[in-house]
């Protein structure tokens, strides 16, 4: 009984993973023309997000500092 439940859960989880893989395959090739402007914009976006993550991490660390 327990094993059957575990198997069903694993199958459900497997289905989600398979779906995510299918989505990744479907959109694997970005269709946008990667001009210099697009590359710079995406780079700036990455830098911005890293900056935000660092700010959040700093806040988290300083909030829990004794």
């Amino acid at each position: 009984m327990e094993q059957a439940q575990k198997r069903r859960k694993a199958r459900g989880f497997g289905r989600i993973v398979a779906k995510i893989r299918e989505v990744n395959r479907r959109y694997a090739e970005p269709r946008i023309h990667m001009s210099r402007g697009v590359k710079i914009a995406l780079l700036l976006l990455r830098v911005y997000l890293i900056f935000l993550v660092l700010v959040l991490a700093y806040k988290f660390i300083t909030s829990f500092k004794p």
């Binding site: 989505v23 946008i32 914009a41 911005y48 997000l49 935000l52």
Partner: protein, 422 residues
């Protein structure tokens, strides 16, 4: 002799155009009015109480700002027939796609929590318990889509949008000093100086102008409504009317609170409603109804945004034009989002203030990405064809997007570190 046929022809043409407009109008008004959600109503109430009429000119400027951003989603949605989530996956690949989708869902759930905070607080004023309010709201939102027609859903939501305009007549009930409103409100300036607190409120007001969910919502609703290239001009008008409505609500709410509670130290819109209730029971009741309606509109639209986005990516049936049994995951996902948000609000001692502040921070992780992707896609001729941004459109859009990103980021940072700016 030709006068009569000419008048008749003009009449027929106007009638036809009005009929087209009536059938297309919806997504623009809904997204713009829903932008004045429970959080927005609180921002305007506190702004009015703190700085009286002096922020009105800023609200007037924010209408066109919101229009410029949302107009781009109109073109993208009508031409590509794809929601924003799908457009991001397709154009930028899985990394940016998953980032946008997960961030959107997290932001949406947390924002819906703030909508439930507003709705339950508003209904508490009328003696209705938070549990009853939450259950009734979820049932109402789900009942609106049972019929399986986008048109029905849209017309009901448009009624909620009209209710949101309740602040306009209510402002006349408090007899504001109109000459003072015009002198201090319409003429640009900072009579309170330009200190840290003013700058914080400036950021808060600009921060409420564009939220990430708005971009995803309008594009998906245009796709769901099956609007086409020829409908773009009407949808632009719809969005412009919505921008006027959103500015009207903001301005008249500021006028009410600035007139009735000048200089009072209120923390949120519910508190403002209670205080106004003690002075003018009708206006106080209107304030509470308006807050509830704003939260409801927010919950209706934001829960739909994530459901549409997930449906687009996972390939579920994701339309309001189908019955619940034909798109079970679309509706279950929406129900789960609403239930989780309502559940969080109902947990005794839940850190609701922290969640309200955290929403601002999480939203700025997605907003720059969503706006940047929008701008990049609107510059791809192979994506939008002749509807590509012109040079003038790009200059205006880039200036607005840079300003929004900068001010929203500063607002989020000042939320995390309150002593930094104020």
């Amino acid at each position: 002799m030709r006068l009569l046929p000419s008048i008749y022809y003009r009449y027929r043409r106007i009638r036809k155009n009005l009929a087209i407009l009536a059938s297309i109008i919806g997504p623009g008004i809904i997204v713009m009015v829903a932008d004045n959600d429970a959080g927005g109503i609180t921002t305007y109430s506190v702004t009015g109480a703190t700085f009286l009429y002096s922020f009105i000119w800023i609200e007037l400027l924010l209408g066109p700002v919101a229009y410029v951003c949302q107009e781009m989603t109109v073109r993208l949605g009508a031409i590509t027939k794809r929601g924003h989530a799908e457009a991001i996956f397709d154009a930028f690949g899985p990394f940016w796609g998953w980032f946008s989708l997960t961030d959107l869902t997290l932001t949406d759930v947390l924002t819906i929590v703030t909508e439930f905070i507003g709705m339950t607080a508003a209904m508490k004023i009328f003696g209705i318990s938070p549990l009853l309010t939450s259950i009734a709201v979820i049932l109402l939102i789900m009942a609106m889509v049972v019929q399986g027609r986008y048109w029905t859903w849209e017309k009901i939501v448009l009624v909620f949008c009209v209710v949101n305009l309740i602040y306009v007549p209510a402002a006349f009930l408090v007899n504001p000093p109109w000459t003072s409103v015009l002198r201090n409100g319409v003429v640009p300036g900072f009579p309170f100086g330009l200190n840290g607190t003013v700058f914080f409120f400036l950021m808060a007001n600009i921060g409420t102008t564009i939220a990430p969910w708005m971009i995803f919502f309008q594009q998906s609703s245009i796709v769901d409504k099956e609007l086409k290239e020829r409908d773009i001009k009407w949808e632009r008008l719809d969005t412009a009317v919505g921008a006027v409505f959103t500015v009207l609500v903001a301005i008249f709410l500021i006028i009410i609170v600035a007139t009735v509670l000048p200089g009072s130290n209120i923390q949120d819109a519910a508190q403002a409603s209670i205080q106004i209730l003690g002075i003018n029971k009708y206006v106080g009741a209107v304030m509470a109804i308006g807050l509830f309606d704003a939260g409801l509109l927010g919950a209706v639209c934001i829960s739909l945004t994530s459901s549409w986005a997930f449906g687009e990516i996972f390939g579920w049936a994701h339309s309001l034009n189908v019955k619940v049994t034909q798109a079970p995951w679309f509706f279950i996902f929406r129900l789960v989002i609403l239930s989780v948000a309502a559940g969080i609000v109902l947990i005794p001692g839940a850190p609701l203030v922290a969640i309200t502040l955290f929403v601002q921070v999480i939203a700025v992780t997605l907003l720059p990405a969503a706006l940047t992707f929008l701008l990049l896609l609107l510059n791809q001729e192979e994506v939008v064809g002749k509807y590509k941004n012109s040079l003038a459109q790009n200059i205006v859009a880039i200036a607005i997007i840079v300003a929004i990103i900068t001010l929203s980021t500063l607002f989020a940072i000042s939320t995390l570190f309150p002593n930094l700016i104020r």
